[in-house]
């Protein structure tokens, strides 16, 4: 606090520690520091005493020992001989996978519902209001359980596809929707460039990124030509070619073919499988968070003053362009910060995966590993560290974004 008056004359008295603004803040901080240190010492000594009494120690050695259990959903190589540490990493990747997927679909649901809620169509607006209210006001745990139950009881089991006159048939003969998950044709390379499977996919993605920049270059060129001559050259066939040709050539070169799932033994084999727990959790998180995002989107759009829309219309912009060029850019400024914190919520809520048997980090490290090793303190600490890292990273990006879009005021 700014001190404008002259400092009082005279010597130092103890009372001044509390009454003099020059010392008071130091005094309080010293008291706070002492209290804090006492609290830490108290808790720490209790912990040590209790651990000693129970004959336990804190050790992370168990992470290197074989986990001994299998995980159904894994993005990296893992089997029951891998270590608890590897199981934890599988869990981390699964958490990230379901979070990213759910973030994308929740945004789609949310934006659709938010925009439709403002639609002039009475029925649609009311339906969306109903959707938002019903999902926002019921705990996400109940939704996850309900959706998982719906999935397992409504969809047919693989057994229903068997026999001469099966109760269920595959969709278009290539994809099967079962209560164990969705089986789809999976792409396979007969002539891969790399031995490691995912490197081939990185190559494909790299080519797509190259196409993206190529297409941007074409657009830029077209704009330049337009500025110089006033006529925009027709470029759509260039763009299409740049997007399609390289990637198609690459895929053909690598010998892409589709592996169609078929019912063999107990399960469908071959093709691409998206597991039931993943789908249930993904869908539940998306639709639940979508309701919150819808509210953010609605608030964002309504925050753009009507004058802006009217001014844009007065300039002769068509409704679509009014939305794209005037309303959305302003609304996004309001929408994006809460949107990112909804993404954070999705990541944190994905820890409810244990209710559906999805092997995320809470289910591997915080579930079976904890259960089998009994190393409760270590597991819980690692678990919190992981979530903390994710959320700090996301907050970091929120701050960067907030600074970037801060209104440049005169």
């Amino acid at each position: 606090m700014a001190i404008t008056s002259d400092p009082p004359k005279g010597g130092f008295r103890v009372g001044m520690l509390f009454s003099d603004t020059r010392y008071r803040s130091l005094t309080f901080q010293a008291i706070a520091a002492i209290l804090l240190a006492l609290a830490i010492w108290y808790l720490g000594s209790n912990l040590l005493q209790n651990l000693a009494a129970a004959g336990l120690n804190i050790s992370y050695d168990f992470l290197g020992e074989p986990a001994g259990y299998d995980i159904n959903q894994r993005l990296i190589e893992y089997d029951s001989r891998s270590s608890h540490g590897a199981a934890a990493i599988v869990g981390v990747l699964n958490t990230l996978l379901v979070s990213v997927l759910a973030c994308v679909t929740a945004t789609v649901f949310g934006v659709l519902a938010g925009v439709l809620r403002l639609s002039p169509n009475w029925l649609v607006a009311k339906l969306m209001a109903f959707y938002v209210e019903i999902f926002r006001n019921i705990p996400v745990l109940i939704w996850i359980i309900i959706i998982f139950t719906i999935m397992t009881t409504v969809l047919p089991g693989p057994r229903a596809f068997r026999g001469d006159d099966p109760a269920s048939t595959m969709f278009l003969g290539v994809a099967a929707f079962t209560n164990r998950g969705v089986y789809m044709p999976g792409p396979v390379f007969n002539n891969p460039l790399f031995a490691v499977g995912f490197l081939n996919w990185f190559l494909v993605i790299a080519v797509l990124i190259g196409s993206f920049f190529g297409a941007r270059g074409v657009a830029k060129w077209a704009t330049n030509v337009q500025f110089e001559t006033g006529i925009r050259p027709t470029t759509w066939y260039f763009t299409v070619a740049i997007w399609l040709l390289p990637v198609v050539l690459l895929l053909l070169f690598m010998g892409l073919s589709w592996n169609i799932p078929e019912l063999k033994g107990f399960n469908f084999t071959g093709g691409l499988k998206i597991g039931g727990p993943l789908i249930a959790l993904w869908f539940a998180l998306s639709i639940y968070t979508g309701a919150f995002i819808a509210e953010n989107v609605r608030a964002g759009i309504q925050a753009v003053s009507k004058g802006q829309t009217e001014a844009a219309a007065a300039l002769g912009l068509r409704p679509g362009r009014v939305m794209n060029l005037v309303v959305l850019p302003q609304a996004l400024r309001v929408i994006i910060p809460p949107l990112i914190s909804q993404y954070l919520n999705i990541t944190k809520n994905s820890s409810l995966a244990i209710a559906v048997g999805y092997a995320d980090i809470t289910a591997t490290l915080g579930g079976i590993t904890l259960n089998q090793t009994g190393r409760a303190i270590e597991c819980v600490l690692l678990l919190m560290l992981f979530y903390l890292t994710i959320s700090l990273l996301i907050s970091f990006f929120i701050n960067i974004y907030n600074n970037a879009i801060k209104l440049k005021e005169r």
Partner: protein, 430 residues
């Protein structure tokens, strides 16, 4: 005006307005404008109607064929005679378990019921500003009465706890006006003096033959547990959250640092890991010779959790106040506690109330997570004892639907209140 007769026909009276064309009136107009204004809109309408029909055609027979009287699922199925229908009998048969858990003594159900009714009276003065301020006394006494009602045992315990707080308030009112620090320390000293002296006076056996039978907190369960966790944790976390928010805005680097670390840490981890902490770790941090009840550990962690969120809401309120308010308070010569108490917080809290209510609703929903750590709240009762019993093995929809409906009613009610409040508070700024 003379009538010009040169014309062959002149209308002397106005034609009554003809009715608008049928397509522009009543239902048709409404339909056209609201449901079929364009091709896209029409398609959306039809799709929505199909979706509604689909859902209702499944739900209505299920709801109306429901069986309300049976003692097990197989009896239910027999009673339905092959029709599709719900087995609501599980709700009637396990009604008490769903609401109170399976261990709360049946003869004492009136106690939580009474506590719930009193809750409305206690909350009313806080929620509705128009009520006389004197009623806040009910709010102040309520927690102690509710505690006594729900846990039972000797009433001396809550009484002494209340007296301690009352003494603290009294001392603070007397001394705090002149010297905040002295009043504050004096209040704490007074409260502790009464608690220690009073605590010593209560005989050990006081609980044995108390008017209300003591109920251990292990025996709490069902929706009552959700309500209690929600109400307790929200009310405890509001003061803590305000303190944290003030700490985060403080000019003292150490205090600010501690508050920031605390808030960011708690907000960065999912509630479920904090509940794991409550369940598997917290016990190690308490003194070796005592163990603290699981209910208390969970209350601590949920309170901490919601305090961090409330702190952020309050911080938003503090930040939204114009700088001039702070400066005006300083220029009046108010010191920090006075400025906060009389100028800043009343305004900042008013702005924050809708946000706090949102946190409260979210927190109340999150109390269902305690089912993951072996507490039998509403969801825990459903997933545990009820679905595991041989009679009701396989009744999912009725139970989950019931849980969803209960939460919906409460949360929707609170959010409607919040919207009402927002509208009311907004008028002041016009």
């Amino acid at each position: 005006m003379p009538i010009d007769t040169s014309a062959a026909f002149v209308r002397t009276s106005e034609i009554p307005p003809s009715p608008p064309p049928p397509s522009e009136t009543g239902l048709v107009k409404w339909l056209r404008e609201n449901l079929f204004s364009s091709v896209g809109s029409a398609i959306l309408t039809i799709v929505s109607l199909i979706a509604i029909y689909f859902i209702l055609s499944l739900a209505i027979p299920w709801l109306f064929n429901g069986v309300w009287n049976a003692s097990s699922l197989s009896e239910c199925r027999e009673a339905m005679e092959g029709k599709v229908g719900a087995c609501f009998a599980v709700l009637t048969e396990r009604w008490n378990q769903l609401l109170y858990g399976f261990q709360y003594p049946a003869s004492e159900y009136w106690r939580p019921n009474l506590a719930l009714i009193l809750l409305f009276f206690a909350a009313a003065p806080v929620l509705f500003f128009d009520l006389p301020r004197k009623l806040l006394i009910i709010t102040a006494v309520y927690p102690f009465v509710a505690f006594w009602l729900i846990w039972g045992g000797t009433f001396l315990g809550p009484l002494i706890a209340f007296l301690g707080l009352a003494a603290a308030y009294f001392v603070f009112e007397r001394v705090g006006k002149q010297n905040f620090a002295l009043g504050f320390i004096g209040a704490i000293a007074a409260a502790f003096a009464i608690w220690i002296v009073g605590g010593g006076l209560i005989p050990d056996s006081a609980s044995d033959n108390a008017m209300l039978k003591a109920v251990p907190s292990r025996d709490l369960g069902g929706f009552m547990l959700n309500m209690m966790l929600g109400a307790t944790c929200v009310s405890l976390s509001i003061p803590i959250g305000i303190l944290l928010a003030l700490g985060r805005q403080s000019h003292m680097p150490l205090v600010r640092f501690v508050c920031v670390i605390f808030i960011e840490f708690i907000r960065g981890v999912p509630l479920i890991t904090l509940l794991f902490v409550a369940n598997v770790m917290l016990a190690y941090f308490f003194p070796p010779e005592s163990t603290v009840d699981l209910f208390i550990r969970v209350v601590i962690m949920i309170t901490v959790f919601s305090a961090a969120y409330i702190a952020e809401v309050v911080r938003g309120g503090l930040a939204a106040l114009p700088r001039g308010q702070y400066e005006a308070a300083d220029s009046l010569g108010l010191d920090y506690p006075q400025a906060m108490r009389l100028i800043i917080l009343p305004q900042a809290l008013k702005i924050s109330i809708p946000g706090i209510v949102n946190v409260a609703v979210g927190l109340f929903k999150d109390t269902t997570l305690v089912s993951v750590i072996s507490m039998f709240d509403l969801v825990g009762m459903i997933r545990g004892p009820i679905l595991a019993s041989t009679e009701w093995n396989g009744v999912y929809w009725e139970l989950l639907g019931f849980a969803a409906a209960l939460f919906f009613v409460v949360c929707y009610g609170i959010s409607q209140y919040s919207q009402w409040l927002e509208r009311r508070l907004a008028t002041d700024h016009r």
